[in-house]
């Protein structure tokens, strides 16, 4: 089963799902916490900053308007106090003064008038026909008569257009006289409207009754009043006397009011702006943050999926390898158990077989002493006895192979002289070599280092290579050459035979476990695999060179540096 197929298994699918969720959760939680926290702090800080800025603007604008009114009042006071009533009652004189004021301030001053204590305008300079106009019943006249100076609310009056007046009372010849100036509503309005912020921010003025004293940025009827002058006072107030108030209009928009009193508390300057407009930058920052979170989230999800898939594929591959290894261990374990059993059987069988063979040999010996003509089937007896002997030897060979297979590996390390092991192995194999007509030659290097390795393991490696060489030469005989030398700081052992060689098609598989070219029952396929494992464990290498009908050479290379006995 390949990895792609394996990861479709429900177990790996569930694992991948859990991994994806975990990675997303671990990535998203800090992202959301940090971005949310930063955005919240930024929002609070930005709101405070905007409110402070608006408060300052409204305060300055209030001071500007108050300054505007005071300046105009002082102009009228100067005229009233500097000239006699006779001069002021002179129409030409009054016109000249109006012309001088208009030259100085443009159309801010619309007209000037002098009113006696009965409310009759005795002199008038201005564009309207208001000579001899009677103001005795006008509310403003009554108030103006009581105060040294007075600034009225905006009203329509006799002319029918919105305006307000500034009056100064002077006492001449024991009677009060009123000098009145009309302030252009348009001019005053332009001063108020001067405060414009964003798309929806504008200012207007209300009096204490909620009547508009300037033209607001929205449509209102002439007589319409506004109740915000009451609700504003309920809002937050700063130490500078700036009021902050919020409310929802008919359309559901959140409206911000920033207000301040002017004209000694008679008027209220109100700055109005949609909250969304005032705090537009916060919304913009929120949108950017949201886009970043969305993009970051998509990237995180994609990464989580890819990473989890990659990791699960790795785990699946590792599991597959583990299963394969486990299977190999089980197989090897089974073989080891089989080996133990085989060792027991071999030992138990060898003795009775030896007795059988010896008994047959004894019969053969006795038959030789019998007279030739006394035993009718002597030849048949001899053939049968020879067959018993042959089969007994065959049994011995079988049990020898069983014992060889069952040999245990002792991996404890000790100081080992490689040449001694080679000589031991040669001696051990010499008998088999003699029967197989094989000549073993050795050329062992001098002054080889003593290695700290497992004696049994090294013996097994060399015995395996020698047995393979003997197997290759068993049928036709030949030569085996075993060499040892020190080359490039490695101890190199060569086992060369002039046998039939290994076919190129199989040479790359000879170190694979359970691979064998020997007849069924003659090889386990573990010999070279175990040798390969032993040499690799020492950090060395084992390789093979083979030419068909010329022979095979196995080279074992053990690094001196890591294995030399200190």
């Amino acid at each position: 089963m390949n990895v792609e197929t394996r990861i479709k298994d429900p177990y790996y699918k569930a694992m991948m799902g859990k991994m994806i969720l975990l990675v997303i959760a671990v990535s998203f939680a800090p992202l959301l916490l940090v971005s949310g926290s930063i955005l919240n702090k930024f929002s609070i800080s930005y709101r405070e900053k905007v409110n402070a800025h608006l408060g300052e603007l409204v305060l300055k604008h209030t001071q500007n308007i108050d300054g505007f009114l005071l300046e105009k009042l002082n102009n009228i006071r100067f005229i009233a106090n500097s000239f006699s009533i006779e001069e002021l009652k002179n129409e030409n004189f009054l016109r000249n003064k109006l012309a001088a004021l208009q030259t100085e301030y443009g159309t801010v001053f619309e007209d000037l008038g002098v009113i006696n204590n009965e409310g009759i305008q005795v002199t008038y300079a201005g564009p309207f026909k208001l000579e001899r106009a009677v103001y005795s019943d006008a509310e403003w006249f009554k108030k103006a008569l009581k105060k040294d100076y007075f600034i009225s609310n905006v009203f329509l009056g006799l002319r029918g257009t919105p305006h307000f007046i500034i009056t100064v009372r002077v006492n001449r010849h024991g009677k009060p006289w009123i000098l009145r100036a009309t302030i252009s509503f348009a001019a005053f309005n332009s001063v108020v409207e001067n405060l414009r912020i964003g798309k929806t921010g504008f200012a207007f003025i209300l009096n204490n009754e909620g009547e508009f004293q300037s033209k607001p940025g929205f449509k209102v009827a002439a007589s319409e009043t506004h109740s915000c002058h009451i609700s504003i006072k309920e809002g937050k107030k700063t130490k500078d006397g700036i009021y902050f108030h919020k409310f929802d209009d008919e359309s559901g928009n959140r409206i911000l009011h920033v207000a301040s009193f002017l004209k000694k508390g008679e008027w209220l300057l109100v700055f109005q702006q949609d909250e969304s407009d005032a705090f537009m930058d916060i919304d913009h920052a929120k949108q950017i943050a949201f886009i970043i979170i969305i993009i970051g989230g998509i990237c995180t999800i994609v990464t989580a999926i890819m990473l989890s898939r990659w990791m699960v594929a790795k785990i699946a591959k590792a599991d597959a390898e583990k299963e394969m290894m486990n299977q190999q261990v089980i197989d090897t374990g089974k073989l080891a158990s089989l080996g133990e059993l085989a060792a027991g059987i071999a030992h138990e069988i060898n003795n009775p077989v030896a007795i059988m063979v010896e008994e047959a040999g004894w019969i053969h010996d006795l038959l030789e002493d019998e007279p030739v003509n006394k035993l009718e089937n002597k030849e048949e007896f001899e053939r049968a006895l020879a067959q018993i002997k042959t089969q007994g030897i065959r049994c011995r060979e079988i049990t020898q192979k069983l014992l060889s297979f069952a040999r245990k590996i002792d991996s404890s390390v000790a100081n080992v002289n490689i040449n001694e092991i080679i000589n031991d192995v040669i001696r051990f194999c010499s008998q088999r070599a003699k029967y197989s007509n094989v000549v073993i030659q050795s050329k062992l290097g001098e002054n080889l280092p003593v290695l700290k390795v497992s004696h049994t393991e090294m013996q097994q490696v060399l015995l395996n290579l020698m047995n393979n060489a003997l197997d290759a030469l068993e049928k036709r005989g030949g030569n085996i050459s075993i060499t040892s030398m020190l080359e490039d700081d490695d101890v190199v052992i060569g086992v060369k035979d002039d046998g039939p060689g290994i076919p190129p098609a199989t040479i790359h598989r000879i170190f694979d476990p359970f691979f064998t070219t020997k007849a069924v029952g003659k090889g386990t396929g573990l010999g070279l695999s175990i040798c390969y494992g032993i040499i690799k464990k020492l950090g060395g290498n084992i390789d093979v060179q083979s030419i068909i009908d010329a022979g095979t050479t196995f080279s074992v290379r053990i690094p001196r540096k890591t294995n030399e006995s200190k």
Binding site: N351, D365, L403, L463
Partner: protein
């Protein structure tokens, strides 16, 4: 003429009996023992034994242990190891301890005869050298 005087040691009684008969038939003088302890006792009592044919695996004192003691007490006696479980370890250990050679059961009679003869010859040559040396020593003393 006796080819060699040998002691056959094995816990397998039928094997020892048959092998003894066969070797006796080939002009060997074979005595037998069924354990390592018996073998050592026999060697104590019979100094003419030239070769010991010794099974490796025996109950009680095994062949390797017996070989060690034989080589300590009777260094001139040659020992041929006979093993029914021809492991390289036991065979090589036996050789290192001074065994003349080893054979794997069931062994070929001709091979066994040849090995025992060779071992006996070696023992006799050894004896001859010792006797020569002793004679030389006596002659030198007389002079």
């Amino acid at each position: 003429m006796i080819v060699a005087k040998a002691l056959l040691v094995d816990d397998e009684i039928p094997f020892v009996e048959t092998m003894t008969k066969r070797l006796n038939k080939r002009d060997f003088s074979i005595s037998s023992a069924f354990s390592g302890v018996d073998a050592l006792k026999h060697l104590e009592e019979n100094s003419e034994v030239e070769v010991v044919i010794l099974d490796v695996k025996m109950p009680g004192m095994d062949g390797i242990e017996t070989l060690k003691i034989i080589k300590q007490r009777f260094p001139l006696v040659e020992v041929i190891m006979l093993t029914g479980h021809g492991t390289i370890e036991s065979a090589i250990e036996g050789m290192k301890l001074g065994a003349f050679d080893y054979l794997v059961k069931p062994c070929d009679m001709e091979q066994l005869v040849a090995k025992v003869s060779e071992a006996a010859m070696k023992k006799r040559k050894h004896n001859e050298k010792i006797i020569e040396a002793q004679l030389k020593d006596i002659a030198l003393r007389r002079i």
